[in-house]
């Protein structure tokens, strides 16, 4: 039954082409001979029409080294040793598309064949091959629309005991697929010639080995058809369409869950979800984030329709935060397990803790949990943690006080109730039905607001009405209708093609003999138009073209740089071999990118493999900068006029207080590093008639005059300041500024920042002497003045793209303390973060909320708009505006201004569709 596998040797029997230094293969077809220097497409045009190009192997000897190392690592594992020893190292690289006429139109994907290259291809295979643990091969006739599980069953009689399969398609692409009812998901088909590796769970083959093996299989080309009938299994039935991805949905509380109860499930990192849910008397507006794969967190506003907010006539509004941590990922035996807190830092009205597990069986996802607090109000069981001490047996009242505190003394205390249920993914795409048993007893509702409850069983459905929109409806408590709408988006994949940008300058092979009669002026203009950057100087120096760029802003800097290069190439004489682009912002030189022109040209005209790929873009340390002649930088004024909108949510006067207006922003540059900037805002429409409330405060009123500042004048000057920035030495930067620094404060200030180039660490200090501005936001000042400033450490942890910022100093109310800020920044530049400030102000003096805290999302406009933009949308939620822990909102911050020194400055890019590129390693 065993068939030794020498796939390349077999393939070589069919069509083989290797030039002189290729591996020793037999029977080279005359038509298959490579002519060094010809394109792959030309070689293909000489081949038989029935050649299976999808499985074509293009190999280069230089790429064998890495693959040899991969094979060595696999052999070290001691699994499949005999088979691996006989498997050749091929040096295979990816071919983007097996279509001759397409390759001809895409020279970047059409390799120019070289001496030593090898090409191997044969007729279309008819089988799929399962590599078994003993090194034998099981060949199964290819069946359209059969999935990996079907082939495993065809070989082994059953797929039970095989949780996973690793699939290698004949073009080298790989995928890991679930074979069981707990891990089934939407799957690719299996092409003829594919390899499948599916060790039995009992064999306990390390997953790392399987991950590497499947990549190595990608270097082998299509699996060979059998030479004898004995190794052939029966063809499977097509069942691909039965594979389905588990569709998650939000609970009434915004987190992934059923109706009232949470589950252990989570979305992948980057997801953000907004859920509006209503069930009398509660309306929840939930905002949930998934900053890491194992952390779900968010906040909510809860309106209680039959209770009023303080002395007003408005519905009572509560604010709360949630956190859920995944403890365990589901496996064949173990459930997914999560630990969570609901309302962990609000007033504690709904404070709950829970532990919950999930196990999936096909279209059913079962959850079972234990709830404390609101989720366990039924109190059916005594607390199992009671064994650890009697203090766990009863749940103390939360220390609500001013709200907003972490009531650690109540966590996991008191009686518990079980909860759980099931979500069924119906055959109708997008429709999920839910049934749950909740642990809450509505006779213990907060605000003495008990509700009738006929049963603890709730039922409902979630319906995917649009790709990102879920509509949910259900019956809860046995007598109430629940409705909810959820909007879900994956921020980490946010991207929009730049359809409205200027058309990119097309690459041309032609190189001008000399510089054009207009000199470099047109080059600078087109470069500026292409990049959105200001080109301040351009000059040839030896074999280098030096290009000075200022205002090199925007998140996707590498993409902007890549748009400049074709412009420089188009106008540069042949003796220019390097483009040296100095990137500055506000006159602060921070980074230099050197482009190897001829390597770049080569990359435009042909693909290369990893081992032969030249370095095109070189990140040059600032100390090595070559500078062009300084250009006169004429003072220049700019302005923009745009609609403005500001709002206050969740206050006692109205849930939403808003103003619409027109905002004019102007700037006058005295030099590259000195500028005057200001904003004038005209409030056109608002609902400030409702704005009556001025929050009480025992502290200097540094922020709680919000109503007065907001309503005093329709025409305001939120900002008018003079700013100067300077670079002191290699890694030191300073700024000086004065004027109306923000809408509430005016004064002077300075900042120093030490930021080594490409370092994950930076340190800064800012000191400001400010006075409170007049409520009309004009040029007059009030009496209150303060010196405020902070020392700040910035740290890019390098762990899961998490950044940490710690600031300590004196705040606007004169209180002293620290602010800790965590954020996750995704590869498309979108970041999600949370911060908290604790100062020496006592909670009762701070007032409602106890301490300052908030969450934020920063989204580069580049990720959203069809036109390139340097701006970033900063969306920030703070539960309350209080006087403690309040910071000056400085308009210019050196850490932002020196973002070109960030280790990832040239890394952030728009999310591109995953497209195979010729030359990529099959295991990249």
């Amino acid at each position: 039954m065993r068939t030794p596998c020498f796939p390349l040797a077999r393939i070589a029997m069919l069509v083989l082409s290797v030039t002189t230094t290729g591996t020793a293969m037999a029977q080279t077809a005359p038509s298959a001979t490579i002519v060094p220097g010809e394109r792959l497409s030309n070689w293909l045009l000489r081949q038989p029409a029935d050649l299976f190009i999808d499985g074509l192997i293009w190999s280069r000897p230089e790429d064998m080294r890495v693959q040899r190392q991969l094979k060595k690592e696999l052999l070290a594992e001691g699994v499949l040793s005999d088979w691996l020893r006989n498997a050749p190292v091929t040096g295979r690289a990816v071919i983007a598309r097996p279509e001759v006429r397409w390759l001809q139109a895409h020279p970047k994907d059409d390799p120019i064949l070289r001496e030593g290259d090898g090409i191997f291809a044969g007729p279309r295979p008819q089988f799929v091959t399962l590599l078994k643990q003993d090194g034998s091969l099981c060949h199964v006739p290819h069946t359209p629309q059969a999935r990996a599980r079907d082939y495993v069953e065809a070989c082994d009689g059953q797929a039970a005991g095989h949780s996973w399969a690793w699939l290698t398609q004949p073009d080298g692409q790989t995928q890991r697929v679930g074979l069981s009812s707990w891990n089934d998901s939407t799957q690719m088909g299996v092409a003829p010639g594919a390899w499948i590796w599916s060790p039995a769970d009992a064999a306990k083959v390390p997953e790392a080995f399987s991950d590497k093996l499947v990549k190595f299989l990608g270097t082998q080309g299509p699996a060979p058809d059998p030479t004898t009938a004995t190794s052939v299994a029966k063809a499977p039935a097509p069942t691909l369409t039965t594979s389905r991805q588990q569709q998650l949905s939000a609970s009434d509380w915004g987190g992934i869950g059923l109706l009232q109860t949470p589950t252990a499930r989570m979305e992948s990192a980057g997801h953000m979800r907004i859920t509006a849910a209503h069930i009398q008397p509660y309306t929840n507006l939930n905002v949930m984030f998934q900053p890491l794969d194992w952390v779900e967190a968010g906040f909510r506003y809860t309106q209680v329709s039959n209770r009023i907010y303080g002395i007003t006539t408005r519905d009572y509004t509560d604010k709360s935060f949630d956190l859920k941590l995944r403890l365990l990922q589901e496996s064949a035996v173990l459930p997914e397990l999560a630990l969570g807190w609901r309302d962990l830092a609000g007033t504690g009205m709904f404070s709950s803790e829970y532990v919950v597990g999930n196990k999936r069986t096909g279209n059913f996802d079962w959850s079972l949990g234990l709830g404390w607090g609101y989720l366990g109000n039924r109190g059916q069981w005594s607390n199992p943690l009671g064994a650890l001490g009697s203090k766990f047996k009863t749940r103390p009242s939360p220390e609500v006080g001013e709200g907003g505190k972490f009531s650690v003394n109540t966590y996991f205390k008191g009686p518990v109730s079980p909860f759980g249920g099931v979500q069924w993914q119906s055959p109708i795409d997008g429709l999920r039905l839910k049934l749950e048993y909740e642990g809450n007893n509505y006779q213990h509702e907060p605000l003495s607001n008990n509700q009738k409850q006929r049963t603890g069983w709730n039922a409902g459905l979630a319906w995917l009405v649009a790709p990102s929109v879920d509509w949910s409806v259900g019956v809860e408590r046995g007598n109430r209708l629940m409705t909810a709408l959820t909007f879900n988006v994956d921020l980490s994949t946010l991207s929009t093609p730049k359809l409205h940008d200027p058309a990119p300058v097309r690459f041309t092979n032609a190189v001008p003999a000399t510089l054009g009669p207009s000199g470099w002026t047109p080059t600078a203009e087109v470069s500026a138009a292409q990049s959105g950057w200001k080109v301040t100087g351009i000059q040839q120096q030896g074999d280098a073209l030096l290009v000075d760029v200022d205002q090199a802003e925007g998140t996707y800097k590498q993409e902007r740089l890549e748009r400049i290069v074709p412009v420089l190439h188009k106008d540069s004489p042949p003796d220019i071999k390097r483009f040296v682009v100095n990137l500055s912002d506000r006159g602060l030189h921070q980074s230099t990118q050197e482009v190897d022109r001829y390597a770049w040209i080569a990359a435009q005209t042909q693909p290369s493999t990893p081992a032969t790929r030249p370095t095109i873009f070189k990140d040059v340390p600032p100390a090595e900068m070559l500078r062009s002649q300084p250009q006169s930088d004429a003072a220049k004024g700019t302005y923009t006029i745009a609609p403005s909108y500001t709002q206050i949510l969740g206050g006692p006067d109205a849930f939403l207080l808003y103003q619409l207006g027109v905002s004019a922003t102007a700037e006058y540059r005295f030099s590259a590093s000195t500028w005057l900037s200001g904003t004038l805002n005209l409030r056109v429409a608002d609902n400030y008639d409702n704005f009556k409330y001025t929050a009480p405060s025992d502290l200097p009123r540094v922020r709680t005059y919000q109503r007065e500042f907001t309503t005093a004048s329709r025409l305001t000057l939120p900002n008018l300041q003079l700013t100067h920035v300077e670079k002191l030495g290699a890694d030191h930067f300073v700024s000086l500024y004065g004027g109306a620094l923000e809408w509430m404060y005016a004064g002077v200030g300075a900042e120093w920042l030490y930021r080594p180039w490409r370092s994950p660490l930076a340190v800064g200090v800012d000191v400001n002497r400010v006075r409170q501005r007049d409520f009309h936001q004009n040029l007059q000042l009030r009496d209150y003045g303060v010196t405020t400033g902070h020392a700040t450490v910035y740290w890019d942890t390098g762990w899961q793209d998490v950044n940490v910022k710690l600031s300590a100093g004196q705040y606007l109310a004169g209180d002293k303390g620290a602010t800790l800020d965590f954020s996750r920044r995704f590869s498309n530049g979108v970041s999600v973060g949370a911060y908290g400030t604790k100062t020496n102000v006592k909670a009762k003096d701070f007032g409602e909320g106890s301490f300052d805290k908030g969450v934020y999302v920063n989204i580069p406009f580049d990720a959203m708009l069809a036109t390139s933009s340097k701006e970033t949308a900063s969306l920030r939620w703070t539960p309350l505006t209080r006087d403690g822990g309040a910071r000056l909102d400085r308009q210019v911050q050196l850490y932002e201004l020196t973002s070109l020194r960030d280790p990832k400055a040239m890394v952030f890019r728009s999310v591109q569709p995953v497209e195979p590129r010729t030359g990529a390693a099959v295991f990249e």
């Binding site: 029409a49 999808d54 598309r97 097996p98 279509e99 006429r101 397409w102 001809q104 139109a105 895409h106 290819h142 069946t143 359209p144 629309q145 398609q169 690719m188 088909g189 299996v190 092409a191 003829p192 097509p238 691909l240 369409t241 907004i274 507006l285 905002v287 790709p467 990102s468 909007f487 946010l494 991207s495 929009t496 093609p497 359809l499 409205h500 058309a503 923009t640 745009a642 609609p643 403005s644 909108y645 500001t646 709002q647 206050i648 949510l649 939403l656 905002s663 999302v857 406009f861 959203m864 708009l865 069809a866 036109t867 933009s869 701006e871 949308a873 900063s874 969306l875 920030r876 939620w877």
Partner: protein, 231 residues
């Protein structure tokens, strides 16, 4: 090789309208943040949408006008390869995407999602036979086998019934319209329509509507640049 000055592409591009909706929701929750620029720019981008390609003017090339989801672009013929099945025409979009036609039927696409590869037809009745057939249901059918990417759906087999429709509209005077319905397949597609006209003594496809998936259909129509007025 034909190169269009601007590269309108065949593939579908994500719309920003979804983000407009998202931003509306997000902005409605963003405390004291001025989002005016965000609104304005997003709205501008949303309103602009995708643009149509300008009409080519180079009379040296043969063109197909292609309409996808209301957007128009032009394909230029790059090659005609003689094969045992007949001449296969390769048509390029400005973005370098490829559509290959055999007697007006799609036999391959590249750079488009989805891609059809290795399309094989068997027992296809000729257009001349179809034009001579009586309008209405017929027993004529053929088998098509195709590989579809992405997804590695290799070897999908379609049984296609070919029906000549009655020509009733003025637009179709002098033409024959043929519909092709799939009677058996693992990947159902909407029916394809072909408008035939006689050229050089044979019936040929001058326009068609064909679908690569349930949601991705394109119309292809022979098109020639208007003649340049002589001075």
């Amino acid at each position: 090789m034909y190169k269009h000055p601007a590269p309108p592409q065949v593939h579908r591009t994500p719309t920003v309208r979804m983000w407009l909706l998202f931003l509306a929701a997000v902005s409605a929750l963003s405390g004291c943040t001025s989002t005016g620029q965000l609104w304005l720019k997003t709205a501008q981008a949303a309103l602009h949408g995708g643009s149509n390609a300008s009409e080519p003017t180079n009379t040296k090339y043969q063109y197909l006008r292609c309409i996808i989801n209301g957007r128009t672009l032009f394909l230029a013929k790059g090659f005609t390869d003689e094969t045992a099945s007949g001449p296969i025409e390769t048509w390029y979009s400005g973005g370098g995407e490829v559509i290959k036609l055999l007697n007006g039927r799609i036999v391959g696409t590249a750079g488009i999602t989805p891609e059809w590869r290795n399309v094989r037809y068997s027992n296809v009745p000729s257009w001349d036979v179809m034009a001579a057939a009586s309008p209405g249901p017929s027993s004529m059918s053929y088998t098509r086998t195709r590989d579809v990417m992405p997804g590695y759906l290799y070897g999908i087999q379609d049984e296609v019934q070919v029906i000549r429709l009655a020509s009733s509209t003025p637009e179709n005077m002098g033409s024959v319209v043929v519909e092709e319905r799939m009677t058996s397949t693992a990947q159902p597609l909407p029916a394809a329509l072909y408008r035939l006209q006689q050229q050089d003594g044979h019936w040929r496809v001058v326009a068609s509507k064909q679908c690569l998936s349930e949601r991705f259909c394109l119309t292809l129509e022979q098109w020639a640049p208007p003649p340049v007025p002589t001075k």
